[in-house]
């Protein structure tokens, strides 16, 4: 009886001990990410996918990675309306309320409003867009997973020239607008590449037009007469539509239009009345292309939609949401491994990002391999781009991992 009693006591003690230890083992440290969005500004129509992808990526990470590390990431959305004033007024409150270890930004106004603040506040911001010339400075606290739009265009020019077997310099034209400094900066990047590589590219003309052009027949006719082989349009869908209509009106189908992510084939195709009109045109950017072809990134999207009921489509916007979130989450992960799961802060996240190269597999192929340095807000070497086109009326990948050339800062 005594033996039985002591067994019971020992058993009860063991249960108490395990119960006491169990909470410690499963205790989670929660870190916050601030998700700046544009629900009421010019990019409101793509926010559902972009912000939805951010939340889905966080859900996945909490489930698959965070749980094992004893970390939970909480994400909270803020509407900054793509307005620098709004971002500037929101930020002190976000910092006080969330004390975030990372911020996810939308575009140029967020960069403009916070680039002076973040180094002091020691919080890194992760973007999804290509980098901006005005933010190309050393010791960054704002990180882009893609090089500048100029770099992406240059990568396309080199790929196009080699894939077509063109020996002479490729004749390019740029259609842009002075309505936005970002558009001017985009044009400057391509101009700089052309200036540095006269053996590869000849810039026949940069056309600065109104921000939403309706008729570009005269300008495009001039570009055709000058022998342009590619027209670089990284501004908006209106410019693509006007240029395409002009090419059609002039009976020219040989000149290819090159677009970016925010005015790509699907968006411009929708605006022009169908992607078939953009047969033989291209889009280029340093992240996954959302075609229906089976890729790691497509599989990941399917997984989060199925498992976490994420209400997001497979689009450029969701790819952008995934890319920035995954970089931020992997940086937090690297920081936790380095300083401990309960000691992560913004400074540690930035340091870990700089010290830890990010393999493409870690972002499910949404991005190429990334190695950040103190030199620039984007990896200055080893980057690649993906190129998509419309072939036989279908949206398909034309090339993957085309290398990005070096361009000196303009």
């Amino acid at each position: 009886m005594k033996k039985l009693m002591s067994k019971w006591i020992a058993g009860a003690a063991a249960i108490v001990a395990v119960s006491a230890l169990a909470p410690a083992a499963s205790a989670e440290t929660t870190y916050n990410i601030a998700s700046i969005a544009d629900f009421t500004g010019p990019y409101a129509d793509i926010m559902k996918d972009l912000v939805g992808a951010r939340h889905a990526a966080v859900d996945w990470w909490n489930d698959e990675v965070g749980k094992k590390m004893g970390i939970k990431i909480a994400i909270k959305d803020y509407d900054a309306r793509y307005d620098a004033a709004q971002t500037a007024s929101l930020w002190p409150g976000i910092k006080a309320e969330l004390n975030p270890v990372a911020v996810l930004g939308v575009g140029g106004p967020d960069v403009a409003a916070l680039q002076g603040r973040l180094p002091t506040d020691k919080v890194p911001m992760f973007m999804s867009t290509a980098a901006y010339g005005f933010a190309w400075k050393p010791d960054p606290w704002i990180f882009n997973p893609r090089p500048t739009y100029g770099h992406e265009a240059a990568a396309f020019f080199e790929w196009f020239r080699s894939s077509r077997g063109i020996k002479a310099p490729l004749k390019i034209a740029i259609i842009s607008s002075e309505a936005s400094p970002a558009y001017v900066d985009i044009a400057k990047g391509a101009q700089q590449y052309a200036k540095e590589n006269p053996d590869k590219v000849e810039l026949v003309e940069t056309v600065f037009t109104e921000v939403q052009p309706t008729d570009l027949t005269t300008q495009v006719g001039r570009l055709i007469r000058k022998g342009a082989q590619v027209i670089d349009i990284q501004t908006n869908t209106a410019a693509v539509v006007a240029t395409k209509r002009a090419l059609q009106a002039l009976g020219n189908t040989d000149v290819a239009i090159m677009m970016s992510s925010h005015n790509g084939l699907l968006a411009s195709g929708k605006a022009i009345g169908g992607i078939k009109d953009l047969e033989g045109d291209y889009e280029v950017y340093g992240m996954a292309v959302p075609t229906e072809q089976k890729t790691n990134s497509h599989d990941f999207w399917e997984l989060v939609v199925r498992k976490y009921k994420a209400p997001i489509g497979w689009s450029v916007a969701s790819v952008m949401g995934f890319n920035q979130s995954l970089v931020a989450l992997r940086a937090i992960e690297a920081a936790a491994r380095k300083v401990g799961a309960d000691k992560v802060d913004g400074d540690a996240v930035r340091t870990a990002l700089m010290a830890t190269p990010l393999a493409s597999d870690q972002t499910f192929g949404f991005l190429p391999n990334l190695s950040y340095t103190n030199e620039a807000p984007f990896p200055v070497s080893g980057l690649t781009v993906n190129i998509a086109t419309i072939k036989d009326g279908k949206y398909v990948i034309a090339a993957e991992n085309a290398p990005v050339p070096v361009i000196t800062k303009w």
Partner: protein, 348 residues
């Protein structure tokens, strides 16, 4: 009108801005409240307060140009941009301190505004509005193409500093903006109650009659633009030190329209109305922005896109309702209440 029993028995008393003891007490309490904002509220409200102060300076200028002198101005954001860029240029390229760059920013904006004021001599109303929109386009073009302003790269500023003290914290920036806003508000009251202010009102009400009475209509209209643009330039200088980065797309026509909306909601032809308009519009805007995440968190199925968009629609409706039901602004409503209270129990 003054309360019963208050008589101006000397010129100094007649000219006084504060006329009664309760007004004195109310002003002191209000100033103490403004001074205590950093202690009373958190960082979010402090940042909003700082932006309200900056916007107040800009909208005060617009009130003088449009509300008092009757000159429609849709280029106030451009004038603000000129001030911001001048302050940024002088601070980064010449290393001048903020106490020099902000007034000089105001002066350069005043010169830019004066040029457009001259066009107001020949045209008015709708056509003048179009001309001031041209100020937006010209500003944009000059900044992007002139070599001194950083073009598409913009200008990055260091924080404002005075001797060894740096205005880099939210609290110090707030007090800097509060000091400048207080000086500019006092100046605005002085201007509109002085000879120039009366000339502005005369020209606004009937420029032909004003001319016959001996007012130099040309100079008055140009001066109204000069003063209004100076205020915008000073506000732009504060903005430059607040964000510490100046880019041309921060000063758009859309911003100018918001400034006009603030004047309308507050009440045309009232300095206090301009301040009230800024506070009301900014508080509604920021209130919605702050409320949005909580609503989304409570009802995630609705989605942020719907919640935030609906709030913006609501804000637009509030402004439209003001234009329909009280086009003379909140100050008009307040004045009716005040007069009724003072006349009570008599109807008039």
């Amino acid at each position: 009108m003054d309360p019963a029993g208050i008589f101006a028995t000397s010129f100094a008393r007649d000219a006084a801005l504060i006329r009664t003891r309760p007004q004195q007490i109310a002003l002191i309490l209000f100033l103490l409240f403004l001074m205590a904002i950093p202690v009373l509220f958190g960082p979010r409200l402090l940042a909003i307060s700082t932006l309200i102060l900056i916007s107040s300076v800009i909208v005060l200028g617009l009130q003088i140009t449009t509300g008092y002198a009757g000159q429609i101005n849709l280029g106030q954001a451009a004038f603000m941009g000129v001030g911001a860029y001048t302050s940024g240029f002088l601070a980064t390229k010449l290393g001048l301190p903020f106490w020099a760059t902000i007034p000089l920013g105001g002066c350069s904006a005043a010169v830019f505004g004066f040029i457009f004021g001259l066009s107001a001599v020949r045209i008015k109303g709708f056509y003048l509005a179009l001309t001031t929109i041209a100020a937006q386009s010209l500003f944009h073009f000059f900044v992007l193409n002139l070599p001194w302003f950083g073009g598409s790269n913009g200008l990055t500023l260091d924080p404002a500093s005075l001797f060894d003290f740096t205005f880099s914290s939210d609290i110090s920036l707030y007090y800097l903006c509060l000091a400048v806003a207080a000086i500019m508000t006092y100046g605005a009251y002085g201007i509109v109650r002085g000879r120039h202010g009366r000339a502005f009102v005369a020209v606004r009400d009937d420029d032909v009659a004003a001319g016959i009475m001996g007012i130099d209509v040309v100079a008055t209209k140009a001066t109204a633009f000069l003063v209004g643009a100076f205020y915008a330039g000073v506000g732009g200088g504060l903005w430059a030190y607040f964000v510490r980065f100046v880019a041309v797309d921060q000063f758009t026509l859309f911003n100018s329209i918001w400034f006009i909306a603030m004047v309308i909601v507050g009440g045309m032809g009232s300095i206090t109305g301009a301040l009230v308009g800024v506070v009301v519009i900014k508080c509604i805007q920021e209130g919605f922005v702050s409320l949005g995440p909580s609503v989304v968190a409570q009802f995630p199925s609705i989605g942020g896109d719907v919640v935030f968009a609906l709030m913006n629609v609501f804000l637009g409706t509030v402004i439209a309702a003001f234009l329909i039901f009280e086009p003379r602004g909140l100050m008009h409503r307040w004045n009716i209440l005040k007069v009724s209270y003072r006349m009570w129990p008599f109807p008039y």
